[in-house]
């Protein structure tokens, strides 16, 4: 069924560039040793600007996006998951983690060749799986230098100097440790540059997401996944900050010109937690109803850093540079960096689902949503924690909520037909009929 488009639409001009940057990232990591450089691994949330002080030839492989990349390749993913299970790891553990371990166990890199062994591990810890993930990586690789920063100091609304100091002291210890394990001298100028890049990129991503308050939305969530990913790979890198600036300008242009992400937008939704990466086609199915997911706390707040604006709305956090702060020392850079990162929206629900419900209700109101889809994600305990309370809270706040069970990285735990059927029922409840894709 095809209908006349309600809004004009156009492909993103920077689409090709983001794909190139992503591929370059994975190639850079794999080829780092050929260039005499260093390879480190750690989570997407780790303080990635810090290893930058070791030199300009230091490349990372962040764990969650890598696990997601494997999940998108169902055949490789199955081999990885089965290899992890065979090695004794429980099937209900984080699916990214099991994909990642499997990639080491079968010795295949998702971007070609064998799995490139890292030189060291630089991780942070807020979810039970974070530090333990790399304990196992170290076991599997026969022992690797491993440092992890605990960031679980409580929600940002209760931030206090001793909480920031606890993180900064661990960062300082980590820098000394890095110098020892790599034999390199640390360069504070490179650190300061990387921290500034990260302030820019994470604030810019929030600015881009805030533009999706517009009706029709200039971006839809499936596309946003391909864009925000740079912030999970290389958020401290100039290339990411510059790309997000370019993207911000393009999205602004789309808003000014009324260019929509989907041509028949009639129902605005948001999702929650990571999507089932092997089944992103469900977002295309939604379009048959003129339904668009304009984002989620996950997409907005996994890397985006936000603040309350004077008019009461939620918007990008003002960077220290825009506040006129000059960063001149390692200690100052680390203090600002820790404080900045503690405000990450996706870290707040680890302490209370009720904080998350408030943020989600705020998004629902400001982004003018008609309903909410909650992915009860068996693959991620960290982002599914409290999700049942979020459901109750959002219903209490007056929003229609649909829930569906699945797994972001283990296709054996996702029933696409059933999810589509649930979505049909949700649309019927909201009084939204199929309009077909224009």
């Amino acid at each position: 069924m095809a209908t006349k488009a309600k809004y004009k639409t156009a492909p993103l001009k920077c689409w090709k560039k983001v794909k190139e940057l992503r591929l370059k990232y994975y190639e850079d990591y794999a080829k780092a040793h050929e260039r005499g450089g260093l390879r480190w691994v750690g989570g997407a949330w780790t303080f990635s600007a810090i290893p930058s002080g070791l030199g300009e030839d230091v490349y990372s492989l962040t764990s969650e996006p890598y696990g997601a990349s494997i999940a998108a390749d169902k055949q490789m993913s199955l081999r990885c998951l089965e290899a992890s299970e065979k090695a004794g790891y429980a099937r209900d553990l984080c699916a990214y983690m099991r994909n990642y371990w499997g990639s080491i166990l079968i010795n295949e890199y998702a971007f070609g060749g064998t799995f490139p062994k890292p030189d060291f591990i630089w991780q942070d810890h807020i979810c039970c799986s974070h530090a333990k993930w790399y304990q196992v990586v170290s076991d599997l690789e026969g022992g690797l230098p491993n440092f992890c920063v605990d960031v679980a100091v409580g929600p940002y609304e209760e931030v206090a100097p001793h909480k920031v100091d606890y993180i900064v002291e661990q960062m300082q210890d980590g820098i000394e440790w890095m110098e020892k394990v790599t034999g390199r001298r640390y360069n504070d100028d490179l650190l300061i540059e990387a921290v500034k890049n990260e302030f820019r990129s994470t604030s810019l991503w929030a600015e881009i997401c805030a533009m999706n308050k517009q009706v029709p939305a200039p971006l839809e969530e499936k596309t946003m996944y391909s864009l925000y990913v740079l912030g999970t790979l290389n958020k401290h890198d100039r290339s990411t900050a510059d790309f997000f600036e370019e993207l911000r300008d393009e999205v602004k242009e789309r808003v000014d010109q009324g260019i929509a992400a989907i041509p028949n937008e009639q129902c605005r939704l948001m999702s929650d937690t990571q999507p089932p990466w092997g089944f992103l086609s469900i977002f295309r199915y939604m379009e048959e109803f003129g339904a668009i997911s304009v984002g989620s706390l996950y997409t907005f707040g996994l890397i985006g850093i936000w603040e309350d604006k004077p008019d009461g709305s939620w918007g990008p956090r003002t960077t220290p540079m825009d506040q006129g702060i000059e960063i001149t020392s390692r200690e100052q850079a680390l203090q600002l960096y820790a404080d900045w990162t503690l405000a990450k929206p996706e870290w707040q629900h680890f302490y209370s689902p009720h904080i998350k419900t408030k943020m989600m209700a705020r998004i629902a109101k400001e982004w003018k949503l008609d309903g909410i889809m909650l992915h009860y994600n068996r693959g991620c305990e960290g982002l599914s924690i409290g999700i049942a309370e979020n459901r109750l809270g959002l219903i209490e706040a007056g929003y229609p909520v649909m829930s569906f069970e699945g797994n972001m990285g283990d296709e054996r735990e996702f029933d696409e037909t059933r999810v589509r059927a649930r979505f049909d029922a949700f649309m019927e409840t909201l009084g939204v009929a199929k309009v077909g894709r224009a």
Partner: protein, 384 residues
């Protein structure tokens, strides 16, 4: 049965009664003292500080009944233990609590706390950000600062200052309790342990539910008699049990009825709870903080090194165990993340293992078949 045996049994019955009738005990304590009671969800809660505030800290545990009220509150992929704990609150079984607290540990149990905060009427709640990086020198000073905030919060709630003397007394009482438990555990190293694993579990569990002064008095009574206990019960195969939270007395009883005795454990309802004392590490709050940072860790805090593996192997050797039951609450990620390394280390140390996944209700019949097969295998080792 002689008088001695009857007395011994009565002494252990005290522990069992406290565990089974925890609500009655707590209500009577409250009436007797006129003071408040706080429920805590994880053994990282600094009981000394709560006790020093004149409050009785009691652990919130489940009831081992099929879950029927928590589905709307906690997603089914989280462990049955956290759901069972929440169920107790939703069903009003801890209606004698004035407040609740949690010291940050795993993601699972904190959901019982946050749902309880919202859905169970309560006067006071406190989330203590217990650090995870306990292998870092930065953890103790950080926790000491957090304990200052917790102390101030308790003082505001009770309207009463927590004095240094009160802290000293609370530390002394809690340390005494740990020392007494440790002495009882020492007796289990002998060829013919004078108590069963079930009795030991009742003893430690009840210590989490009653005033430590009452518990100390009961422990002293037990200790005075245990060394003289006339045990005719054969020890059988010496076992260790380790893993997630475990208060499944019925399971322990079943295993011990099959020709075995649990002589040691690594559980937060066992050794992990009481193994380390508060020792002087500076000021009072720093000393308390240091105890919780340096205690035998839950796997969720045991990184980057796996110190618990070394500790478990040491226990296995000191208590001369022939086999270990590695149990895990279903979906307990922290233990799932340690179990392969732990099992390998035990095997390397010559200790055979049996892995069992627990739910709130344990299939005793099916588990018995597996346990019997495991014991038979271990006994074959003895033969040849």
């Amino acid at each position: 049965m002689g008088n001695q045996a009857v007395l011994d049994r009565e002494t252990f019955e005290t522990f069992r009664n406290w565990r089974v009738n925890r609500a009655e005990y707590a209500k009577a304590w409250k009436e007797r003292t006129g003071r408040k009671i706080i429920g805590y969800f994880c053994t990282y809660a600094p009981e000394e500080l709560i006790y020093a505030a004149g409050i009785l800290p009691v652990r919130i545990l489940g009831s081992h009944e099929v879950q029927d009220v928590t589905e709307p509150h906690i997603f089914a992929m989280f462990c049955p233990f956290c759901r069972d704990c929440l169920a107790q609150g939703l069903k009003g079984r801890f209606d004698y609590l004035d407040g609740i607290t949690i010291a940050q540990s795993c993601l699972h149990i904190r959901q019982a706390f946050t749902s309880w905060q919202k859905h169970v009427p309560i006067d006071y709640s406190y989330y203590l950000p217990m650090p995870h990086h306990v292998q870092s020198a930065r953890a103790t000073p950080f926790l000491a600062k957090e304990l200052e905030l917790f102390k101030a919060s308790l003082e505001e709630w009770t309207g009463k200052k927590i004095t240094d003397d009160a802290i000293d007394e609370a530390v002394e009482i809690h340390n005494r309790n740990r020392e007494l438990l440790w002495k009882v555990y020492e007796l289990r190293k002998g060829d013919s342990p004078p108590l069963t694993g079930e009795e030991a579990m009742e003893m430690v569990l009840s210590s989490q539910m009653v005033d430590k002064q009452d518990h100390n008095a009961a422990l002293e009574k037990v200790l005075a008699r245990l060394s003289k206990r006339d045990s005719t019960r054969p020890t059988g195969t010496r076992l260790m049990i380790l893993g997630s939270e475990d208060d499944d007395v019925e399971f322990i009883n079943m295993v011990e009825s099959c020709g075995a005795t649990f002589v040691v454990d690594d559980h937060c309802t066992g050794t992990r709870y009481f193994w380390n004392n508060v020792e002087s590490a500076g000021d009072r709050l720093t000393s308390i903080a240091d105890r919780y940072v340096k205690r035998v860790p839950c796997p969720t805090k045991d990184w980057p090194d796996r110190t618990r593996v070394e500790h478990v192997i040491k226990l296995a050797k000191e208590y001369d165990v022939a086999g270990a039951i590695v149990m895990q609450q279903k979906f307990c990620d922290p233990h799932e993340l340690d179990n392969p390394a732990l099992t390998k280390a035990l095997k390397d140390a010559g200790v055979k293992t049996l892995f069992l996944e627990f739910d709130v209700t344990v299939p005793i019949g099916q588990f018995k078949v597996r346990v019997e097969a495991f014991l038979e295998m271990l006994q074959d080792d003895d033969l040849f």
